[in-house]
Symmetry: C2
Subunit: 438 residues, 2 copies
């Protein structure tokens, strides 16, 4: 795709027309400067705005660098407010201020207000391009409003209904509106149960509501229930993908900001603190081994076998924990059920521990010809897999009770528990049976 050269505007336009703006946007990051320059000069405002609209932050900044303030302000006419705010939020402070000052007064007010909300709040992802209909509007007038404003809004299938005080009081389905008697009033076809959010709400909570109630958009209101904006389902999909990526990465101790494009220095700053926390827990486990040093000194085979017991505990505990993290994030767990699940996990630890413990015991016997070593590894495996089940369950449940995200810190607590207790059970048993092992 790279190093493409277009002879003239016509050739580029032909290339552009056969692709979707999204595809152009995703190609951009590999284009050399001259090519981006060419695109900016060849495309009209509407088309260039559609590329900006569909680009990621990085690609967007690439394009914006090639566009003067005048042009950028005309491009904004073709973009939804939430995308303009996203773009402005990433600009250098001086350019942001310059652009704001040159906007029309009412537009400036809206953008300034939207820029105030945290990027990951409902206010930060909402757009102000929506249709609100007055309760006492005639159907025929409402239809005219939709014809007039509709093309500038993001969703028309659900229309929001407000009263004289501009409070959100319900919704109207466009299907009903189209089928209704033209002389009737909006109030006659309204559903009086709009689901709404406040601008401070975290985007993850908003996404859960939209997913739960199968909404195509959700209105954002202020304390007086006046509509500030709406959040559309396509932005909600982006939120869901972002939040999941965040969970996945945070479980591994990485910031979601990091990608393969992150510089070396930034990667060090983001990863090293987590590694140092892990180091502290690794020393904890190492300390347990040190306590039993005299036992190991006498039966050195223990040092090879102990890592199997601790490792298997970590694996089994991660299985339990992952299911809990998933079910907790979907809100599928009732407090009274925890005891029931705990009992099951203990039973599972005993059964899975016996099975893997038996296999381990047999192989260990073949390797070391000591039936007591086999017996100890068998018992320790059961013990550590029960530990794994208990901690794999209780750690995420406890973190979630403390209103923190169980995805983040669970795994480090879990492996600390399975390492420390795994070594302790195995080496403890070995110390008890020491005379038989030697």
């Amino acid at each position: 795709m790279n190093d493409r050269n277009w002879k003239d505007q016509k050739e580029f336009q032909a290339y552009f027309d056969q692709l979707h703006p999204v595809d152009i946007a995703s190609e951009l990051e590999d284009w050399p400067d001259e090519q981006i320059d060419a695109m900016c000069s060849y495309l009209n405002d509407e088309d260039l705005a559609s590329v900006l609209d569909q680009s990621d932050d990085d690609e967007r900044m690439e394009v914006v660098k090639h566009v003067h303030d005048d042009r950028l302000l005309s491009l904004f006419q073709w973009m939804p407010k939430d995308e303009i705010v996203d773009l402005m939020g990433n600009l250098p402070m001086d350019r942001k201020k310059r652009l704001l000052n040159r906007m029309k007064h009412d537009e400036q007010t809206i953008i300034r207000q939207l820029l105030q909300y945290p990027e990951e709040s409902a206010g930060g992802i909402m757009t102000t391009d929506y249709i609100a209909l007055r309760l006492d509007l005639k159907i025929s007038d409402a239809l005219q409003t939709i014809r007039d404003i509709g093309p500038k809004t993001e969703v028309i299938e659900t229309l929001y209904v407000i009263n004289a005080k501009r409070e959100l009081i319900g919704t109207v389905d466009l299907r009903k509106l189209l089928a209704a008697n033209k002389e009737a009033y909006i109030s006659s076809i309204m559903e009086a149960d709009a689901i709404y959010v406040y601008p401070e709400m975290d985007q993850e909570e908003v996404a859960k509501l939209v997913a739960k109630y199968d909404l195509k958009a959700i209105p954002v209101v202020n304390a007086n229930k006046a509509i500030l904006g709406i959040i559309t389902v396509d932005d909600i999909i982006d939120v869901i993908i972002d939040e999941y990526d965040e969970d996945l990465l945070q479980m591994a101790g990485v910031s979601k900001e990091e990608s393969i494009d992150t510089t070396l220095l930034e990667s060090i700053q983001m990863r090293l603190p987590w590694l140092l926390i892990n180091l502290a827990t690794a020393f904890l486990a190492s300390f347990i081994v040190k306590i039993f040093q005299t036992t190991i000194e006498q039966v050195v085979a223990l040092s090879a076998v102990m890592t199997i017991v601790s490792g298997m505990g970590g694996n089994a505990g991660t299985q339990t924990m992952s299911i809990l993290v998933r079910d907790l994030s979907h809100g599928d767990i009732k407090a009274k059920r925890v005891w029931q699940v705990l009992f099951k996990e203990i039973a599972l630890g005993i059964i899975d521990g016996s099975s893997t413990g038996l296999v381990t015991a047999i192989i260990v016997y073949v390797m070391y010809h000591n039936v007591f070593l086999s017996l100890i590894v068998f018992l320790a495996m059961i013990g550590n897999l029960v530990v794994a089940g208990i901690f794999g369950l209780l750690i995420p449940v406890t973190i979630s009770k403390l209103h923190a995200d169980p995805a983040i810190a669970s795994s480090i607590f879990l492996t600390t528990a399975t390492d420390v207790l795994g070594f302790f059970i195995f080496l403890g048993l070995a110390t008890l049976f020491l005379s038989h092992l030697m």
Copy 2:
């Protein structure tokens, strides 16, 4: 919420009306049989269908058990086809057949056809409730069609345009249709670039398309480009959540089918195979330790320190791997960049390894008063964190090149590499410096 008793139909209806059907659906699983019975007899078909529509598979089957075939067939009149098919797919074979045979002929044909598609394919999640407009239809007639069929369809904001051969040839935005001249034809306002999928496509691929192009629905067509159905964005959100959960769980070696409600026996069947695979890799690492048994015999402190080196390698490698898995799943990695990232990961391994290695060396010196042991742990930590960076990068990239999902098997290969090589580097260095350690 449990053990609620409603005196009569009126009292239940009042309770029902103050809640959204989704909320009723999520309460259901805790209700005793009599309460579900009461709900089924109190609610009219439309309301009960809305509860079924919003329920999960388990809750849905609870309700269906309390409803006779006649009633169920009337409830189907109020449900979208994809939900009917989902529900039918979970019924016992004999009841499914009985219901199918009692359906009207045309409905039966549609449901039978939809039941044929795999549950996780485009065909398996599509609904047949959509609007297709003929190219040569007048705008006024199109509006009448929307008024007539609209209430029975899931999306009206985008309408699909077909030609005389019933091939999908484009889309019309309802906004344009509302604003257009009533005497004009659909062809004059059509966009000729509909994005569509085939019924065999995996639901994850469909979700990626919908997310990429910000669609509210995507049409499913057959080989002749005739529309078979559409998939709406709310079902796509469910797919995205499902697929992410699957990745998260598969990384931990658990089936996405497992939840805290899974029986003990099923949990064993699903988890034990993964634990046995892990056991094999644990023995591999244990075998390395056994090779160096005579070294450990002479310096038993090595057995406590070696677990720190292997554990830290696993943590650092998981950081790299998680970023790669995320970026690969978003398609953000170009082949030529792999070398560049590899170089960065090696540099990162050296720097993070030196930092954590230095801290470890100091603590180890305080504990064991042996400067050579500190030096060895310092070097081994750097070595193993470089190993972690290399494998954390190459394992997911290789798996992805083989067209498998890097989320599934990456972590087991990674920890095998960091354990085996971590022990090998540390104990190998210790064997070289053995005379200084004693």
